[in-house]
Symmetry: C2
Subunit: 333 residues, 2 copies
């Protein structure tokens, strides 16, 4: 088909080109923006969550599947700086699905929705012969002109990331009982599993960055730092220099746990952390707090005029930072 997701997205952008009345931003960012009157814009986003791709029966309890399906879309709203309001949940269920699974799935959806004051207003349901899949569509809102796009990063801007990276990927490993899954301390293992099963969309942080005009560009880390950074840089037509030593990677030197290199690998390519990656112009760097509501904010590099993204290793040598996160089209011929 298409070689990569971004090639497909560019093709789709061309097809849907042309300005519609009220459309502020179409295909290609975290979400679309629509003029809504009264000084507001609507934010529209949809995200698929698919059995065998985004969750595995036996590994992901149905409550976590519901939580994660909605969290993906809430995170996209966070990545614009907006407030999520309404959700539609479409569910294609395999014939093996039990009533208990459905109830737990929706319990996960509704618990997260309630916490973010999001109203689930509809969707569709069908039975399929294959795997179960969910499409979560969320409508958010934001004051007009306040949305933070992927495309606003400029050379000299500093690069920040929220939280700790790689936790979700480690949690998945642990749940699958694979390498390092058992080695970490119980406390770390539980934190990682919780981060994987019940990720927390950073809506408050996104709104804070928007209200204070702190970020020039913003994206959420759904497919991995290296991949999502590449998307932000491509949209802004810039490059980035990232310092490996500054990346908030996992639990260094837990005995029997991750090596420093493994932790860095998970942080750069792990995916599903749903933390926010944002850029701040030099004059505003001092206004970025060290942490926001208990979530640390780390400066990890800066934006430059490069055509590629570089990783500065602790020894000082620079290597190209390739996108090694998840790309759906990589599976296809």
């Amino acid at each position: 088909v298409f070689a990569t997701e971004s090639e497909f997205v560019r093709w789709l952008q061309k097809q849907s080109a042309g300005r519609a009345k009220g459309l502020r931003l179409g295909i290609g960012d975290d979400a679309a923006l629509i003029e809504a009157g009264r000084g507001r814009e609507l934010i529209l986003t949809a995200d698929l969550t698919i059995e065998g791709v985004h969750f595995l029966p036996g590994i992901h309890p149905p409550r976590a599947v519901g939580h994660r399906a909605l969290a993906r879309s809430l995170s996209d709203i966070a990545a614009m700086g907006g407030t999520p309001r309404y959700a539609l949940i479409s569910l294609a269920i395999s014939p093996r699905t039990t009533r208990a699974w459905l109830k737990e799935f929706y319990a996960g959806v509704f618990a997260l929705a309630r916490r973010f004051a999001v109203m689930v207003v509809g969707g569709d349901t069908a039975v399929v012969s294959g795997a179960t899949s969910v499409d979560a569509m969320v409508v958010g809102e934001i004051p007009s002109g306040k949305a933070i796009l992927r495309s606003g990063a400029r050379p000299g801007d500093q690069l920040f990331v929220s939280g700790r990276l790689g936790l979700s990927a480690l949690g998945l490993r642990s749940l699958r009982g694979g390498k390092n899954g058992k080695a970490a301390t119980r406390e770390n293992r539980n934190a990682a599993r919780k981060a994987h099963l019940y990720p927390e969309p950073r809506c408050e942080l996104g709104r804070f960055l928007g209200k204070r005009n702190l970020a020039t560009a913003l994206i959420d880390l759904s497919d991995g730092f290296s991949t999502d950074l590449a998307r932000l840089c491509a949209a802004s037509r810039v490059g980035a220099c990232v310092e490996a030593a500054k990346i908030p990677a996992l639990f260094p030197a837990t005995p029997g746990g991750l090596s420093r290199d493994e932790a860095l690998g998970l942080a750069l390519n792990g995916g599903e952390d749903y933390e926010l990656l944002f850029t701040v112009s030099p004059g505003k760097v001092s206004l970025v707090p060290r942490e926001f509501h208990g979530v640390p904010l780390h400066q990890v590099g800066q934006i430059c005029r490069l055509k590629q993204n570089l990783l500065i290793l602790p020894a000082g040598n620079k290597v190209t930072l390739h996108s090694a996160g998840y790309d759906h089209f990589r599976k296809l011929d």
Copy 2:
């Protein structure tokens, strides 16, 4: 799981109960309604289109799959009396999908979107191991308080339906080369195939009924007249008496074609006609035109205080009109 779709929907309504600021209508109608300011409400709807359920490879060309996926949601907006504005298309594709299939699929989506001045603004894409599925989410709008719900039918109201019923089901038969597929005249066959592959959402008619305050209740015929009438009646807590002789069924007495009973069966239970079924209070019946932009409008029965829906056969005897259209949960244990 749940015995029927409506049992599931009732359960879901209970879970999502509670009023949210700005929510006018939640789960259970054709679409949700949200207060949007400036005298407008937003209409939100999502519809799944699934390989093996809603389309079959080899039978449905990809362009028709794209058209039908979007048409389902546009028809839901028509069924509220609204105007569709924006669409999100989420696509979970099987690894067998070719670039040509994808391009044709989107050509179908974009051609229909353009004709209805709908902007495709986003969605999600993923590769799945199983069948391809599409979720089409559409945002529409309508002047505040003008939406026509399923729940407004009152005893004495007259029941109307647009177009000709059963055409889509006959078209599918013909495409599959099954019974009656070859018997119909070529002209009828082509009309039926076109109705099945490229159904026309009745947005203009829906808007007309809303603007003139003509309809007390409205639903689109997606799962079949008998099923969708039962939904309208359940929402309005009424029953209906339908006259078989007045149902606009197919091509009576084509030599070698459908018998009268077969045509009536397709009309009542065929599904996917995407015509509009609506009720009109006695005082306004004379204001309903015989046809609207070339689409005939037929009075087919009336609303009454029954607990069930009755079909009056040509001989005068009455039988219960059971919901024999599509119910997704009927397949489950």
